[in-house]
C-alpha cells in the first residue's frame, strides 16, 4: 500500500512542478524557493522523528549485539564492543522468556478470537437490530477504552485482591469460596484485557458497517435471503478488509501490552503473568541493568510482530480478498 501511494505521490508532484514551472516561466528563484520551502516544511518533524524513533531503533539492534554495561559509550573505562548474538542465545535458553512469550500468545488469542468476534457481534446487533439508543450503548461499551490503563489496572487489582470485592461476589454464589493463590493467574489478566478493549472493535466495525448500503440488504431479504445469508454473502465480504486490519491491530497491540500488567500484577506471582515487554523492562530497569539483553528481547518482539502480521496478510490473500 505504501509503495503504491508513494508512486502516486511522485507522479502528482512531478506534474505539479512541471505545470508551475511552465506557468511561472521556470524562474531560478521559483525553483530555489521550492527547494528551500520543501526542507523548511519537512525538516522540523523529520529531525525529531529520526532522533526519537528511527535512530533509537537502529541503536537498539546495535546494543543487542554489544556488551554495553552503562556509562559512556566510547572513551569510558569499558569501551563498548560488539560481541555478536551471545545475548540472543542466552535469552533463548532462559525459561522466563518462554513463560512471557506464552502469556503474550494467550493475549494474542484472546484479542483475535475474543475481542474481535465479540466486538463484531455487538456492532452487528447495534447495526441490524431495531434498537433505540444505539448511541448510548456504543458510548457505554467503549468507555473503558478511554480511561488510563494505569487507573484500570489498579482498579482491577483492588477488585481481585484476596480482600477485595471479587471474593465477596463469588461467596454470594459459593459461600465456601476461599481466595488463595490462583492456579491460573493469567485468566484474570486476560479477562480484564477482554473487558477493556472489546469496545475498540465495536467502534471500528460499527463505523464500517454503516458504510454498507442498507438497501442492498433489504433487497436481498425481499428476495427471500435469511439474516444468516445476508451476513454471509453481503456483510462479511464487505468487511473482510476491516477484519484483517483489526486482526493486525489486535496482534501488534497484544505484543505491546505493558501498562496494565505492570500495575495489575507486575508479572507476579513468580513471573507467571509476565509478558515480553515486562521481561524486557525487568532486564533494563530492575536490579543491575542488562541493556544488551533487554534490546535483544525488544528486537525479537519486533520480529515476532512482523512475522504475525505477515502471516495475517497471507491468510487474507488465501481466504479473503473479496472486497
Amino acid at each position: 500500500m505504501s509503495i503504491f501511494s508513494k508512486k502516486k505521490l511522485g507522479a502528482a508532484g512531478e506534474e505539479l512542478a512541471l505545470a508551475t514551472q511552465l506557468k511561472t516561466g521556470g524562474g531560478a528563484t521559483a525553483r530555489k524557493e521550492q527547494i528551500v520551502s520543501y526542507w523548511l516544511l519537512v525538516l522540523p518533524g523529520f529531525l525529531i522523528y529520526v532522533a526519537v524513533m528511527a535512530f533509537p531503533t537502529v541503536f537498539s539492534i546495535f546494543l543487542s549485539l554489544s556488551d554495553y554495561k552503562g556509562g559512556k559509550l566510547f572513551g569510558g573505562p569499558n569501551p563498548v564492543k560488539l560481541v555478536g548474538f551471545g545475548y540472543y542465545s542466552k535469552m533463548f535458553h532462559d525459561e522466563y522468556f518462554y513463560l512471557a512469550l506464552k502469556n503474550n500468545l494467550y493475549i494474542v488469542l484472546v484479542s483475535v478470537f475474543g475481542q474481535i468476534p465479540l466486538g463484531f457481534f455487538m456492532a452487528y446487533i447495534l447495526f441490524r437490530g431495531m434498537v433505540r439508543g444505539r448511541d448510548f450503548f456504543q458510548t457505554m461499551i467503549y468507555l473503558p477504552c478511554v480511561i488510563s490503563t494505569v487507573v484500570i489496572g489498579i482498579l482491577w487489582k483492588a477488585f481481585f485482591a484476596p480482600t477485595g470485592a471479587f471474593t465477596d461476589l463469588v461467596r454470594i454464589f459459593n459461600p465456601t469460596y476461599e481466595a488463595g493463590l490462583s492456579s491460573h493467574p493469567m485468566i484474570k489478566v486476560l479477562f480484564v484485557i477482554l473487558w477493556m478493549y472489546t469496545g475498540t472493535y465495536l467502534i471500528i466495525f460499527l463505523a464500517n458497517l454503516q458504510k454498507i448500503d442498507v438497501s442492498v440488504i433489504e433487497a436481498a431479504k425481499i428476495d427471500g435471503a435469511s439474516e444468516i445469508q445476508a451476513l454471509r454473502y453481503i456483510i462479511l465480504p464487505a468487511l473482510s478488509g476491516v477484519i484483517v486490519t483489526s486482526a493486525i491491530l489486535a496482534i501488534s497491540g497484544s505484543l505491546k501490552s505493558f501498562d496494565l500488567i505492570y500495575v495489575m500484577t507486575a508479572g507476579g506471582p513468580a513471573n507467571r503473568t509476565s509478558v515480553l515487554s515486562l521481561y524486557m523492562y525487568d532486564k533494563a530497569f530492575r536490579g543491575a541493568p542488562n541493556y544488551p539483553m533487554a534490546n535483544a528481547i525488544s528486537t525479537v518482539m519486533v520480529i515476532i510482530s512482523f512475522l504475525l502480521i505477515g502471516l495475517t496478510k497471507l491468510v487474507e490473500r488465501k481466504f479473503g480478498g473479496r472486497e
Binding site: A51, V52, A165, V214, A284, M301
Partner: protein, 288 residues
C-alpha cells in the same frame, strides 16, 4: 436504519427483547467496575473492609464521606500532576499537528526526489513499537541531560506522534486538488504562504481526528514517562496515580478516590467529544 415497521410478528419482538438483554448485559459489564469504584471512593477504608459491595452507610456507624478525596488530593500532589499532563498533552498535540501537516503538504504538493525515502521512513514508523526504542531513548535522554525534565518528555512524545500525523495528513492533503496550489503559485504565492492560507484552513477536519488520537494517546501514556521521570514535579497523572498502587495499596479509601480523580479528566473529554473520538478511532484503525 433497517427498521421494518410493519413486521410485528412474535419472532421479531422476541428478537428485539434478546437484543436489548444482550446489550444491557454488556453495558452493565462495561460500566459496573467503574460504578463500584465511584461508590467505594465515598467509604472509609474501615467501612470498605466490612462492606465491599453495598452503598456507603449500609453498615451501622458509617456514612458517605469526602475525606478520601481531601486526603488523596493532597498526598497525590494532584494539582501539579494535572498541570503537567495538560502541558504534555497540549504541547505535543499542537506541535505534532503543525509539524506533520507541514511535512504532509511538502510530500503531497511539492516535488522533491527525497520524498519517497523520507515519507517511506515515516510509514515504517507506524509499525515500530515503543519497546524497541525504550532503552535507547532512556540512555540518550540521560546523555543529553534531559532526564527528569519536561523537555525530555515532550521531544519523545512529539517524535512518536509524527508517523500517524504524516500518514493521516498526507492522505488528506493529496485529496486537495492540485489546481488550488497551482493557481496560487501563478499568482505568485510562496509555498509557505500557500500552506498558511490555503492548506491549513482546509485541513481542519483531519486535524480534529489527529488531535483526538494524540490527546488520548499522550494523556494516557505511561510506559515512557515512567522511565524518563523520577520526581512528582515532572510526572504526569497516570504515573502519579500509580503511587497509590504501591506504598498506599492497602489504604483503599484513598486509592479509590485517587483513581476517580485520575479518570475524571479523560471521562469528561470523552463525554464531550465522543462523536469525534469514535470517528478518530475508526480513522486511526485504517493504518496497517
Amino acid at each position: 436504519m433497517s427498521r421494518i415497521k410493519d413486521d410485528n410478528s412474535v419472532g421479531t419482538r422476541i428478537g428485539m427483547a434478546v437484543t436489548y438483554i444482550v446489550l444491557g448485559i454488556f453495558t452493565v459489564l462495561a460500566i459496573y467496575p467503574l460504578i463500584w469504584l465511584l461508590i467505594n471512593s465515598f467509604k472509609t477504608t474501615q467501612e470498605f473492609q466490612l462492606n465491599k459491595l453495598g452503598l456507603p452507610g449500609s453498615v451501622e456507624g458509617y456514612e458517605w464521606t469526602f475525606v478520601n478525596y481531601k486526603d488523596a488530593w493532597v498526598r497525590g500532589k494532584f494539582p501539579i500532576l494535572i498541570l503537567n499532563s495538560v502541558i504534555y498533552t497540549a504541547v505535543t498535540t499542537v506541535v505534532v499537528i503543525l509539524f506533520s501537516f507541514m511535512g504532509s503538504f511538502a510530500f503531497a504538493k511539492i516535488r522533491n526526489r527525497a520524498t519517497p525515502a523520507i515519507h517511506g521512513s515515516f510509514v515504517i514508523g507506524l509499525l515500530l513499537t515503543l519497546q524497541s526504542i525504550m532503552v535507547p531513548l532512556y540512555l540518550m535522554v540521560n546523555w543529553v541531560g534531559l532526564y527528569n525534565t519536561r523537555l525530555g518528555v515532550l521531544i519523545p512524545y512529539i517524535g512518536i506522534g509524527m508517523p500517524m500525523g504524516i500518514y493521516l495528513g498526507t492522505e488528506y492533503i493529496k485529496s486537495i486538488p492540485d489546481a488550488l496550489v497551482e493557481s496560487a503559485r501563478i499568482d505568485g504565492a510562496t509555498y509557505l504562504r500557500i500552506f498558511r492560507s490555503i492548506i491549513a484552513p482546509m485541513a481542519a477536519p483531519v486535524a480534529t481526528t489527529l488531535a483526538i488520537l494524540t490527546v488520548t494517546g499522550t494523556w494516557n501514556e505511561f510506559m515512557l514517562i515512567n522511565i524518563l521521570t523520577s520526581t512528582d514535579n515532572i510526572k504526569s497523572l497516570p504515573v502519579g496515580v500509580q503511587k497509590f498502587a504501591g506504598a498506599l495499596a492497602t489504604d483503599y479509601g484513598k486509592q479509590f478516590a485517587a483513581l476517580v480523580i485520575g479518570l475524571i479528566p479523560m471521562l469528561a473529554f470523552y463525554l464531550v467529544f465522543r462523536k469525534e473520538i469514535t470517528k478518530g478511532v475508526a480513522a486511526g484503525a485504517v493504518k496497517g
